[in-house]
Amino acid sequence: MFSILRSMWLTFLHIFHKTETIEYPEEKPYLAPRYRGRIVLTRDPDMNERCVACNLCAVVCPTDCISLQATEDKNGRRHPEFFRINFSRCIFCGFCEEACPTTAIQLIPDFEMGEYDRQNLVYEKENLLINGQGKYPGYNFYKHAGVDMGVKKKGEGENEEKPVDTKSLMP
């Protein structure tokens, strides 16, 4: 009997505790930087698109919600002609971010994407491309690997060794 009264007293004291409720939309919850929210396409420090339309993200996507088409600009640099993500299918797993070799596609901590019309959930490239570098500042893929686009010559990237001259006799 006493334990019952004690439970009641302790429960009553909860009225003086702070409540745990986060009153959305006036207060927003704290999201970690690695939170897998909305997908964006980023640019590198020289303000060119990072995406080289390699299709790795479309291949790895478990729900097949990414579709894109590669094309080359007049300098020979590959970029996507169109890049479409169907957010009604996207499960925000982050596989595309892990698969991307140029850190172009990234997931950012933003979840407020509610729509009334399902067609508005298909985001085109102009809806996805941002003018920033996202979570990986200072990374330019063409400085480390890839063909000569005017950024580095063959064999002169960072962490890259010069190509071996197979026809000379010197070691």
């Binding site: 439970s7 009641m8 009553f12």
Partner: protein
């Protein structure tokens, strides 16, 4: 004319308290659970009552084709009728009773026994295993707890020498003490029996959300469920009002408030204790509940009756 006004006033008061309890319960329960209750609809969330009422009215009132239709339709009405009728005997002030009967207490006990019918008939008519189990358990539980609900009140009747509610309040005024002091164990037993009568937690085996789907009101929707729902809140209000009247002096109190307000304050205090019980206690197993009733509360109430009777005979 005076009576007609009183009847209208009591009906409106009871319905507003029972409806307001929807909001009060959700808000209080959530404060005790470290969260905020409904606070978006209307000022401080009080519009939740209107929203819930509108939802109840417009929900599809579906009668299952496999059920026993006349009984199914009638069952929710019984609990509302009996609780409403019991409110006619409670004094809201000196000479402020709808029906000042000499046997008000007996009527109240009789009506609460009739209230058991609604649960049993509702569970039976649903033609559903879970409802039936809920109804069977409900009938056994409410039957046992009614036994000592009556016996525990007999102490109060002996001290006030009448079955009428207003006479009991007058007796508390004349004898100078509120009856929970001499009749403390009677008060405890009646309080626990009252919780079991309205099948609230911790005695909500008939409903048992999470165990029995929803117990006896599984198949009910729309207005019929609304009647069960509001009927349960009216039952809580009724038991709180009766505890305040019989054991805590009813409308008695210092005169800076009118007597109705004192009764409402005491009633609201006991309603909060009902909600606190819901927030804090786990549900006992069904046989533990019955054992508690028969083996502990029944002897206590009988002893209470014996000792009260003995002392009163000795003093006369």
């Amino acid at each position: 004319m005076h009576t007609a006004l009183l009847i209208g006033g009591v009906i409106i008061l009871v319905i507003s308290i029972a409806a307001g309890l929807i909001w009060v319960e959700r808000r209080l329960l959530s404060f005790w659970q470290d969260r905020l209750g409904p606070n978006r609809v209307g000022p401080l969330g009080a519009g939740q009552v209107m929203a819930d009422m509108i939802k109840m009215f417009f929900k599809q009132d579906w009668i299952p084709p496999f059920s026993d239709k006349p009984v199914f339709v009638m069952a929710p009405a019984i609990v509302m009728i009996t609780t409403f009728l019991s409110f006619a005997f409670i004094p809201f002030g000196p000479n402020f009773v709808v029906f000042d009967s000499n046997y008000g207490l007996l009527f109240f006990l009789g009506f609460s026994s009739l209230g058991v019918y609604s649960i049993v008939l509702g569970g039976w008519a649903s033609n559903n295993k879970y409802s039936l189990i809920g109804a069977m358990r409900a009938s056994a539980q409410m039957l046992t707890y009614e036994v000592f609900m009556g016996i525990s009140l007999m102490g109060v009747v002996m001290m006030a020498d009448s079955f009428s509610f207003s006479a009991i309040v007058e007796a508390q005024k004349q004898q100078g003490w509120w009856f929970f002091i001499p009749q403390f164990f009677g008060f405890l037993v009646f309080f626990i029996a009252g919780i079991a009568e309205t099948h609230r937690l911790p005695f909500d085996i008939p409903e048992a959300d999470g165990e029995l789907v929803a117990g006896y009101h599984t198949e009910y929707s729309g207005m019929k469920f609304g009647m069960f729902f509001v009927g349960e809140y009216m039952g809580i209000t009724l038991i709180s009002a009766i505890i305040s009247t019989l054991f805590f002096g009813g409308w008695l109190g210092p005169s800076f408030f009118p007597p109705v307000i004192w009764l409402l304050i005491k009633t609201f205090f006991f309603i909060s204790i009902f909600i606190l019980l819901r927030a804090s206690l786990p549900r006992p197993r069904y046989d533990q509940l019955m054992e508690f009733g028969w083996k502990i509360l029944f002897p206590v109430s009988l002893l209470n009756l014996l000792i009260t009777g003995g002392i009163i005979t000795f003093l006369k």
